[in-house]
C-alpha cells in the first residue's frame, strides 16, 4: 500500500519563520555588519542585498560533550602497515584530529565565520530600523482625501456587469436541490414500487399505469423548476474606502557652484539615495525633482544633476524659489507629501542667507513634511548655516546636519530620522 502526494506546489518557504527568528536573534551582530558595509558600498548597488558575517563562536549551541584526555579506543578501516603493538608518536594536532568522527569534521570549518546573504528588503529593514519619518502620524489623519473602491461581499441587487457567476450558480444549484428533493424522493419510492410490481408473478396493469403516471407527473414538475431565477442572482458589492494619500515628492536641492567638487557631490548623492530608499519604504509612488543652482536655479534630470559641471557664484535662495514655484504648479500639498533635502558646501552670497530663511519659514516649511539640510564641508560654517540654525530652532520639521567625510553619512542620516521618543510620549 502506498499513496503518492505531489507536494511540489506547496508553500516553499517553510523555513521563513525560522529564518526571521534567526535574524531577530542575531540582530545586533547583523546590524553591525550592515553599518560597516554601508560605507564600503558603491552608490549604484544600493538596491542589492548584503552578505552578513557573524563570528561562528557567537552562534554555537553548547551541549555537554567529552573533552580531551583520557583513554580512547578507536577502530579504523584500511590497515596497510600496522601490526599489533606498534607505537606511533602522537600527531601534534591530536586534540582535534584523531579523536573521532564528530570533532574531526568540525575542525575543518571551525575557524570560519558564518557568512550568509540577506535580501534587499531585509537589508533595508535593518538599515532603516528605528528610523521614522518625522511628523508622519500627526498629519496623516487629516489628509484622508483619496478613496479606493474595495470589494465588500455580495448583495442581491445590482447592475448586470457585477453579476458573480459562480455565486449565482451556486445559489441556483442550492435552490434546485431544495425545491426538487422531496419530489425526487417520491419518484424513487414509486420506482421501487413499480419494480416490485413488475417483478411480481401476477399482473397489476392498473396499478402499474397509475404509478407510471404519477412518476411522469413528478418528473414534469421537476423539469418545471427553472434553471436560474432572479432569486439566485448575486452581485458583487463595492464600497468606497478612504485611504491616506501615499504619494510623495522629494525635492533634491544642490549647490553646483565651482566650490562643489565631484567628491562632495558623491557624498550628497549617497545621502539622497538613502533618503530615496527610506521614503520608498513608506510611499508607493515617489516623484523626485532635482534642482541644482549656482546663481540661478534650474530643474534638471538625474544625470545632469550629479555629473554636469558648473561654475560661478552661489545664490541658494534661487533654488528655494524654484522649489516653491514647482510646488505651486505641480504638487499641491493636499495631494502630495512633500520632502525637501538640500545639500551644499555652505557657501552662499552673504546677503542671500536672510532671504533663504524667510522663504523657508513662510513659503516652504508650512507645506512640507520635512526639510533637511546637510552641509558638506571641512571648513568653518558660514552665514547660511547660522541663519538655518535659527530656522531649525523655530521649526520642528526642519533639521540640519554637518557632514565631513563619507563615513559620516549613515550616522548623520540616522541622526536626522531617528525615532523621536519625546514626541511620541
Amino acid at each position: 500500500m502506498a499513496n503518492f502526494i505531489d507536494r511540489r506546489l506547496n508553500s516553499k518557504n517553510k523555513s521563513t519563520v525560522n529564518r526571521q527568528r534567526f535574524l531577530r536573534r542575531y540582530k545586533n551582530q547583523i546590524k553591525k555588519s550592515v553599518s560597516e558595509a554601508i560605507n564600503k558600498r558603491g552608490v549604484t548597488d544600493i538596491e542589492s542585498g548584503e552578505d552578513i558575517v557573524i563570528p561562528r563562536k557567537d552562534l554555537s549551541e553548547p551541549v555537554f560533550h567529552q573533552g580531551g584526555g583520557g583513554i580512547k579506543d578507536r577502530v579504523h578501516p584500511g590497515n596497510d602497515q600496522f601490526a599489533p603493538g606498534d607505537r606511533i608518536p602522537r600527531p601534534p594536532q591530536q586534540q582535534g584530529q584523531g579523536s573521532g568522527q564528530g570533532e574531526a569534521s568540525n575542525s575543518g570549518e571551525g575557524e570560519d565565520d558564518f557568512t550568509f546573504s540577506i535580501s534587499k528588503d531585509e537589508y533595508l529593514n535593518l538599515l532603516f530600523e528605528d528610523l521614522e519619518l518625522p511628523n508622519l502620524e500627526k498629519n496623516q489623519l487629516d489628509k484622508l482625501i483619496e478613496f479606493k473602491t474595495v470589494r465588500s461581499g455580495y448583495c442581491a441587487e445590482g447592475v448586470p456587469a457585477n453579476i458573480d457567476i459562480v455565486k449565482s450558480l451556486q445559489g441556483s444549484i442550492a435552490r434546485r436541490i431544495a425545491m426538487t428533493s422531496s419530489k425526487r424522493k417520491e419518484i424513487k419510492e414509486l420506482e421501487q414500487q413499480l419494480l416490485a410490481l413488475q417483478n411480481d408473478k401476477h399482473d397489476h396493469i392498473q396499478k402499474e399505469r397509475e404509478l407510471i403516471e404519477a412518476i411522469t407527473l413528478l418528473k414534469e414538475k421537476i423539469a418545471k423548476v427553472p434553471f436560474i431565477d432572479t432569486f439566485d442572482l448575486r452581485f458583487r458589492n463595492y464600497a468606497k474606502q478612504a485611504v491616506p494619500t501615499s504619494k510623495a515628492v522629494m525635492f533634491c536641492l544642490m549647490d553646483v557652484s565651482g566650490s562643489m567638487d565631484q567628491a562632495t557631490k558623491e557624498m550628497a548623492k549617497r545621502f539622497y539615495i538613502l533618503l530615496y530608499l527610506f521614503l520608498s519604504r513608506t510611499y508607493k509612488n515617489i516623484d523626485v525633482v532635482y534642482i541644482r543652482h549656482h546663481t540661478q536655479a534650474k530643474e534638471v534630470n538625474e544625470h545632469e544633476f550629479f555629473y554636469s559641471q558648473e561654475t560661478g557664484g552661489t545664490i541658494a535662495s534661487s533654488a528655494l524659489e524654484l522649489m516653491n514655484q514647482i510646488i505651486n504648479e505641480r504638487y499641491s500639498e493636499s495631494q502630495w507629501n512633500i520632502y525637501g533635502a538640500q545639500a551644499s558646501d555652505g557657501d552662499n552670497w552673504a546677503d542671500d542667507s536672510p532671504r533663504c530663511k524667510t522663504l523657508l519659514e513662510q513659503n516652504i516649511l508650512p507645506r512640507t513634511r520635512y526639510f533637511s539640510y546637510i552641509e558638506i564641508t571641512q571648513r568653518a560654517h558660514q552665514t547660511l548655516w547660522q541663519h538655518y540654525q535659527q530656522v531649525a530652532d523655530a521649526n520642528p520639521n526642519f533639521a540640519m546636519q554637518h557632514i565631513k567625510s563619507v563615513a559620516d553619512i549613515y550616522p548623520v542620516f540616522r541622526e536626522l530620522f531617528k525615532k523621536n521618543t519625546q514626541n511620541a510620549a
Binding site: N18, I71, P77
Partner: protein
C-alpha cells in the same frame, strides 16, 4: 504550468513506450515479462508501477511495513526538511533558521549534494522523494526508504518499545501549536530562551533504561491543562518544607532525589521551583522529541544497513525477473556503490566508518554465512551458519541495536575485508598504540572495540543529578562520571548557564578526583573559591 510539464512528461513516456513496443514486435526473443520503462524522466504513473513491483517483492521477502505515504518535493523543500532535522512539522526556533541558511549556503556553493530521500518514523510512514531524481533513483529510494527503513521502524525492538509511530505527527502538531501559542502569550524572547536552555540539555532528556509512556495527542490535550496545575501544586508542596527544616538541624538530612537522576530535563520539569507552567510544558515537549529520536541514534548502522541491503536485494530480484533493464541496473549500481563506499583511514575523504558501508556489508555477510558458510564461519557462528538466511536477517533486525548487532554478527571475514585495526590512545603516553588488527588474535578485540564505539553510554556524557538542596539554598548538584578518564568538554560552563536559567538557583557539577574527593568543576553563577575555609 505544472500540468503542462506533467503532460509533456507523459507524452514523452508514451512515445517511448510505443517505440519500445515496436522493438518488442521486431524482436523475436520476446521474454515473458516486458521490462518497465527505464527512461530517466519519471511520471506518477511510472512511480506507481515501480512501487507496485517493489511492494510485491518486499512482500515476498516478508517485509512488514507501515502504509507508505510518498511525497514528491522540490530541492528547496528538501532543504526545509533538512533544517527541521527530519521533523515534518517543527516548531519555530532560530536554530532551524540557522540550519536552513547553512544548508542553503553549502548547497549553493556546491559543497554538498542533497540526500535523495528523507524518511520519517511515523504511521503512515512518510518518505520524501526529490523531484530532481531520475526514475532509477526514485525506484532506489522507494526500495530503500519505503520498504527498508519503513520495515525497520516497524520491526526493531527499540522503535517498537520507545516510539509510537501512529501518534508522532499529531504530537509534533500539538507541540508546534503550543509553542506558537506561547510565543503570542509570553513573548518570543522568553519562549526562545526556554527552548535554548532545553536544547542544550536535549540529549539529557532521555530515559535510557525506563520505557517511556506512549504519547497520544488526545491524552496530551486532555491532560495538559490538569497537569499544569497539578505539577505546580506538587512543586509548591515540595518546597514548602524549606522554612521548617532550618529549625531542627538535628533531624536526619533528607536526601532529594533519593537516587541519582539521569534524565535532567525530566527532573527539571517535575521539580524546578520557579518554572512557570507553560515552561514546564515546553521542557516536556523537547524531552518527548528527544526521546523519539533516541532509538534512531542507537541504530544508525543497522537501520541504514538494513535499508541498503533491501534496496540492493529487491532491485536485483526485479532484475532477475527481467522487470528492469541493464541501463537501469548500471545507474542503480553506480549510486549504490557510492553510498556504500568506505574510504580507508589515510584517504582524504575518510571521516570515520561509513554506517551505510558497515551495515550493508554486515547484512550481506549474514546472508553469506547462512547460504555458504566456511569452516571459519561455522566456528564463529555455529548457530546461524547454514540456517535460513531470511529468518536470520529478520531476527537480527528485530532484536538488536548497533552495539549488540556488531558484537554479535561482525565476522572475521568482514574484519579482513575492511582491514579493521584498533588504536589505543592513552593521553598519559606520548604515543598511540595499535591494539589489534585483522588477524586471528585480533578479531575479538577489534569486534569488541568497534561495538563499544557505538555504545551511546560511552559516547554521551554521563552526568546525573545527585542532589537538590531542598532544605537550604535550593542548589542543584550534578555529578560527572568520566568514562576512561575523558574530561568534560569546555562547553560545560555555557550549558550550566542554561540549566541555571531553568532551575533559577545555584547549579554546580562535581567530579571525583584521583583521591576520591569531590571537586567542583563548574558552577553557575561562577563563584570565587570561597569554600576553602
Amino acid at each position: 504550468m505544472a500540468t503542462s510539464i506533467k503532460e509533456k512528461n507523459k507524452k514523452k513516456s508514451t512515445s517511448k513506450e510505443s517505440t519500445k513496443d515496436s522493438q518488442h514486435l521486431a524482436n523475436h526473443v520476446a521474454s515473458e515479462t516486458s521490462p518497465l520503462d527505464d527512461s530517466s524522466d519519471w511520471t506518477f504513473e511510472l512511480l506507481d508501477l515501480y512501487q507496485q513491483e517493489i511492494a510485491r517483492v518486499a512482500k515476498h521477502y516478508r517485509l512488514d511495513t507501515y502504509t507508505n505515504q510518498i511525497e514528491v518535493i522540490t530541492a528547496e523543500q528538501m532543504m526545509d526538511a533538512y533544517a527541521s532535522v527530519g521533523m515534518p512539522i517543527g516548531y519555530s526556533h532560530w536554530t532551524f533558521g540557522k540550519k536552513f541558511i547553512q544548508t542553503e549556503q553549502n548547497y549553493k556553493r556546491g559543497q554538498m549534494g542533497l540526500a535523495y530521500e528523507i524518511v520519517i518514523n511515523s504511521s503512515p510512514c512518510i518518505s520524501y522523494l526529490m523531484e530532481e531524481n531520475t526514475m532509477t533513483m526514485q525506484a532506489l529510494v522507494m526500495a530503500h526508504a519505503c520498504y527498508g527503513h519503513n520495515s525497520f521502524f516497524k520491526g526493531n525492538y527499540l522503535f517498537k518499545s520507545w516510539t509510537d509511530a501512529s501518534s508522532i505527527i499529531d504530537y509534533l502538531l500539538f507541540a508546534k501549536n503550543y509553542i506558537a501559542d506561547c510565543d503570542l502569550k509570553y513573548g518570543i524572547s522568553e519562549v526562545e530562551a526556554t527552548l535554548d536552555a532545553c536544547h542544550a540539555l536535549m540529549s539529557h532528556g532521555v530515559d535510557r533504561y525506563k520505557r517511556p509512556q506512549k504519547i497520544s495527542l488526545d491524552e496530551e490535550l486532555k491532560r495538559q491543562k490538569e497537569r499544569e496545575e497539578y505539577l505546580q501544586s506538587q512543586v509548591n508542596s515540595l518546597w514548602r518544607t524549606v522554612p521548617k527544616a532550618e529549625k531542627n538541624d538535628t533531624k536526619q538530612h533528607y536526601k532529594f532525589p533519593a537516587e541519582p537522576q539521569e534524565n535532567i530535563l525530566y527532573f527539571v520539569e517535575k521539580n524546578a521551583p520557579l518554572l512557570k507552567p507553560w515552561q514546564r510544558e515546553i521542557v516536556r515537549i523537547v524531552r518527548k522529541i528527544s526521546q523519539y529520536f533516541y532509538p534512531q541514534k542507537q541504530t544508525q548502522v543497522m537501520n541504514e544497513g538494513w535499508a541498503c541491503f533491501w534496496h540492493y536485494t529487491i532491485l536485483n530480484h526485479l532484475y532477475d525477473e527481467g522487470l528492469v533493464t541493464d541501463k537501469f541496473m548500471i545507474e542503480f549500481l553506480h549510486s549504490h556503490t557510492n553510498v556504500v563506499a568506505q574510504p580507508e583511514y589515510n584517504s582524504p575523504y575518510y571521516s570515520g566508518i561509513n554506517p551505510y558501508a558497515l551495515g550493508f556489508n554486515m547484512f550481506m555477510d549474514i546472508r553469506r554465512i547462512c547460504e555458504e558458510p566456511t569452516d571459519e564461519d561455522k566456528q564463529y557462528f555455529p548457530e546461524i551458519a547454514g540456517s535460513d538466511w531470511l529468518d536470520t536477517v529478520h531476527f537480527a533486525m528485530e532484536n538488536f541495536k548497533d552495539e549488540s548487532f556488531i558484537s554479535q554478527y561482525l565476522s572475521p571475514k568482514l574484519i579482513r575485508d575492511f582491514k579493521l585495526f584498533h588504536i589505543h590512545d592513552d593521553s598519559s603516553n606520548n604515543f598511540v598504540e595499535i591494539g589489534a588488527i585483522h588477524n586471528e588474535q585480533g578479531y575479538k578485540k577489534v569486534r569488541e572495540n568497534l561495538a563499544n564505539q557505538y555504545n551511546l553510554s560511552n559516547l554521551e556524557v554521563n552526568i546525573q543529578i545527585i542532589d537538590a538542596n531542598i532544605e537550604g539554598d535550593r542548589a542543584l548538584t550534578l555529578r560527572y562520571t568520566p568514562h576512561n578518564n575523558v574530561a568534560l568538554g569546555d562547553s560545560k560552563d555555557e550549558v550550566l548557564k542554561h540549566l541555571h536559567y531553568l532551575w533559577q538557583f545555584d547549579v554546580k557539577i562535581i567530579q571525583e578526583d584521583k583521591d576520591g574527593i569531590d571537586q567542583v568543576i563548574a558552577s553557575c553563577p561562577i563563584k570565587e573559591k570561597k569554600e576553602k575555609e
